[in-house]
């Protein structure tokens, strides 16, 4: 299963390092990564493969969200299909 990870908030040192460390520890592979500043807000988006993830999706989501709140950012991980079904016919 592939999921989209989004990080939204104020830019600061260590965002990618913080997030990717968790992903690496959980055996989640990063397939693609983009980042941009939209309306002065740092927005990072990762496409990740969670099929070999060593913990449950729900635990992964919890640990990413808590890392996000440590960094003062909103971090969400969602199944890729929610975006493709909404935006692709």
């Amino acid at each position: 299963m592939r999921a989209v990870l989004t990080v939204i908030g104020k830019d600061r040192v260590g965002i990618i390092a913080g997030i990717s460390t968790i992903l690496a520890q959980c055996n989640v592979n990063i397939l693609d990564l983009t980042q941009t500043i939209m309306q002065d807000i740092f927005t990072m988006m990762m496409l990740v493969d969670v099929s070999k993830c060593s913990i449950s999706f729900s635990d992964l989501s919890d640990s990413l969200e808590s890392k996000g709140s440590d960094l003062g950012l909103s971090v969400k991980i969602q199944h890729e299909d929610i975006f493709s079904s909404m935006h692709r016919i």
Binding site: T34, M45, F57, S61, H87
Partner: protein, 452 residues
């Protein structure tokens, strides 16, 4: 890969515009639970519901988590209980209602629909017993919802049932007087009731439905309103297109969740109900969409036209997004559950008469209307008759969910709490309809029902 703008749009719709899946409703047939002994029938009912719905809430929560889309309600609808209970000699069907309540508790759902009877042409023994049990059944249970279909375009209107429902609604209000007549918020009187509606309080599992099925209701008035904010002053072609595009995206989410829930539960997918269902939360109001189109307040002249456009555009956008559409599918305009509607009534902009006109062009009908507790039963029956006639003649579903709040007068507000919200007491006509309602009998089916 999906573009960042698309990802942000989806996240914004969920986080800021209250987009959600309003309900995953599991329909369960109880036709094989009939038994001459009511106790044995209740055991069968409880066992079947709890067996089939065991994973419903768990799967709903998993999907919510994985896809990051809130699923507000998990619910169950069952075969109209009148059909199941009438094999027994039980005089009152309270035991059946209590069994449903208990099964809903075990399943972890917040409502169970189907304490229902279909009497558009007349009563069977079980229909009469069920209807007479409704007030006490709703007053003594928490999660059971009830509905009665009193008319169809094909059969006409059963005016005996319309008369009786006025009395039943009054009695249900009296029995829950300390809660503002709460039992009436769980009771719907229908014309042309759909058999696959996932929304409460009118959901039941129709006789043409399979053994078990998953139906999903979407929502998202906030997302539509915020899309319209970006096209201020544009003509109605642009307004309709904007609504269609947003409705498409909202419904795609419903279709995805319905398919996924159906796959994980091993239960067939039934329909997606394309409804705009408001909640009392700020930013989740259908009335505010109408106001965004340029009306000073919902209820002003032009409101019916605005609602007609909204309702049609939602269906056009939604139909393309789902393989099977059903249920009520249209904008809901409940008063107590919509912050904008509450406001419109309080400010005097929206009257019962205007609401009645609005129900001609949308689903579903006079919904969550609080009226003075002193309103006589025949006036309530006459309100029902008017609304039901609109449905029968226009070949659409209409419904009445009305609460004559005991001891309350126009200007007061009744608090129901949660999704049921709070309802300002609305004015009804002071002129009587008693002799009209006393006639009884059946109003024949309209000429255009003869379509064969």
């Amino acid at each position: 890969m999906i573009s960042p703008f698309e990802v942000i749009e989806t996240i914004k719709m969920i986080q800021e515009e209250n987009l959600d899946i309003r309900t995953i409703t599991m329909g369960i047939s109880l036709r094989d639970c009939c038994h001459p002994d009511a106790g044995a029938a209740c055991i069968r009912i409880y066992d079947k519901i709890t067996r089939l719905s065991r994973d419903l809430v768990k799967v709903g929560e998993e999907i919510e988590r994985e896809y990051g889309i809130p699923i507000i309600n998990k619910r169950i609808s069952v075969t109209p209980i009148a059909l199941v209970a009438e094999s027994s000699d039980e005089e009152k069907y309270l035991r059946f209602a209590q069994t449903l309540d208990k099964a809903a508790d075990t399943a972890g759902v917040n409502f169970i629909g189907g304490f229902s009877a279909l009497v558009h042409k007349g009563y069977t023994k079980g229909d009469g017993r069920l209807i007479r049990s409704i007030p006490e059944a709703l007053a003594t249970t928490r999660k059971v919802c009830s509905s009665v279909n009193v008319a169809t375009t094909k059969a006409g209107i059963n005016m005996d049932a319309v008369r009786e429902m006025g009395l039943i609604i009054k009695e249900a209000a009296q029995l829950t007087a300390d809660q503002g007549g709460l039992a009436c918020a769980k009771l719907v009187v229908f014309a042309n009731v759909p058999e696959d509606n996932p929304f409460m309080a009118g959901a039941f599992h129709g006789v043409g439905e399979p053994e078990c099925v998953i139906n999903v209701g979407v929502s998202g008035p906030g997302a539509i309103k915020s899309a319209l904010e970006k096209v201020k002053g544009a003509d109605f072609g642009v307004v309709a297109e904007t609504i269609k595009k947003k409705a498409f995206k909202i419904t795609r989410m419903g279709e995805l969740v319905a398919r996924e829930a159906s796959r994980r539960l091993g239960v067939p997918f039934g329909i997606v109900d394309l409804s705009l269902a408001p909640t009392p939360a700020i930013g989740d109001s259908v009335a505010h969409i109408l106001e965004e189109m340029g009306l000073e307040k919902c209820g002003a002249h032009g409101t019916t036209a605005a609602l007609a456009l909204l309702n049609d555009a939602v269906k056009k956008g939604g139909t393309m997004a789902s393989s099977y559409v059903g249920g009520l599918s249209g904008a809901f305009i409940p008063i107590s559950e919509d912050a904008g509607m509450i406001d419109a009534v309080k400010s005097g902009a929206l009257s019962l008469e205007k609401l009645e006109a609005m129900t001609c062009v949308c689903s579903v009908g006079l919904d969550m209307i609080v009226i003075p507790g002193s309103t006589p039963a025949h006036t309530i029956s006459a309100i029902i008759a008017d609304e039901i006639a609109i449905g029968v003649i226009n070949n659409k579903t209409t419904a009445v969910r009305i609460i004559p709040a005991p001891g309350k007068e126009v200007g007061e507000v009744v608090e129901f709490g949660g999704l049921l919200g709070s309802g300002p007491v609305m004015k009804v006509s002071q002129f009587g309809s008693s002799d009209f309602i006393q006639r009884g009998g059946r109003v024949p089916a309209p000429i255009h029902s003869l379509s064969n």
